[in-house]
Symmetry: C2
Subunit: 231 residues, 2 copies
Amino acid sequence: MNPTRPIAVLGGTGPEGFGLALRWAQAGETVIIGSRDAKRAQDAGEKIKQRAGVSAKVSGDENSVASYAADIIVLTIPFEGHATLLKQVKPSIRPGTTVIDATVPLAASVGGRATRTLGVWQGSAAQQAAELVPKGVSVVAAFQNLGAELLNAEGPVDCDVIVCGDDPKANQVARTLAIKIPGVRAIDGGKLENARILEQITALLIGLNIRHKGYSGIRITGLPPSAYEVV
Amino acid sequence: MNPTRPIAVLGGTGPEGFGLALRWAQAGETVIIGSRDAKRAQDAGEKIKQRAGVSAKVSGDENSVASYAADIIVLTIPFEGHATLLKQVKPSIRPGTTVIDATVPLAASVGGRATRTLGVWQGSAAQQAAELVPKGVSVVAAFQNLGAELLNAEGPVDCDVIVCGDDPKANQVARTLAIKIPGVRAIDGGKLENARILEQITALLIGLNIRHKGYSGIRITGLPPSAYEVV
């Protein structure tokens, strides 16, 4: 992947998006933090530079501006803002963009628990996204199961990233981004419809974190080496 | 756990139940294979003895007879037979029995794919089971994510078993059984309602097995040692 292809992380001022942006900036990628508030996005970019080094290619801008400037858009927003944001930025998503959805429809979005998910009519947040992006734009589900605390800590993460989507090229873009995060193995998880399972796993992991006081992740065992994409 | 407490594995002539029964027989537990056909159950018991040794405490019987003789009942049946079997054996489940449900509501049950699950009104097969057992009998969800091929192979499995249920004592029974299988770490996964996630993970793992030609399992990373019950 060309490291100059800009990655817009919408919701990148939140802990999950910030952590992903940080990891990609550390890996030399060009990252644009997206936020409703351009100033907050720029501030988050500055914070990332403080950790990733002054040569890190990080900036911040309003969500639509960030989207238009990007070849890859990563959604790391609370589910309650998911459809609204996609409708808002839709005119700014250029053809050929890869949209990677890390959103989890936690019941916390409607005042419920973060250990439960909402039923999404399309099957998953990522499938909802697929309905809302312009034609010719592919949606990939990934990164739901990488906890923000792990991403924002130092050192490798002990987690696999399962990537689901209907466009093999877009899936490859997401897997290539995944393995930029030290410790991550990327695994092709099949069609976008499987996103519903990835999203629910997050609710399970949040429950484990609360119950056992940790920062859990998952590893998939038992597959041949060819199944695991690594650096 | 008292190793003389009999474990009835209903559906124990199928690959999943057979594999669990084999592992527990090898660990010195008393196992009764349950089947619609007592003769088939006995034959499966004989096969287990051939692998676990003549001193293995394994027998086979009709499902209701096996249930009545057991302190622990493990359900390893295709989802299409789940409710029917539970209604049939209900009068034979004694108070204080622990019912461990490993059933996954795969769409294959209605002619669909094994990589998709059916929606179960109660939320999961295990919650359906909880509605169908006699009062005073606890249902625990576990073992859905341990593939039959792994159980029937030699040596340790590279998998964690997440145990979900509403009765802490019954959950402990299931975790104690889980760690009798070499390689398994047992993890408290919270309430029975979380069974829906465990069941869906199986569909994901089946998809990974097909796509990547392997026998996948999951490990949970990032929790403190106290979260992992091991031998």
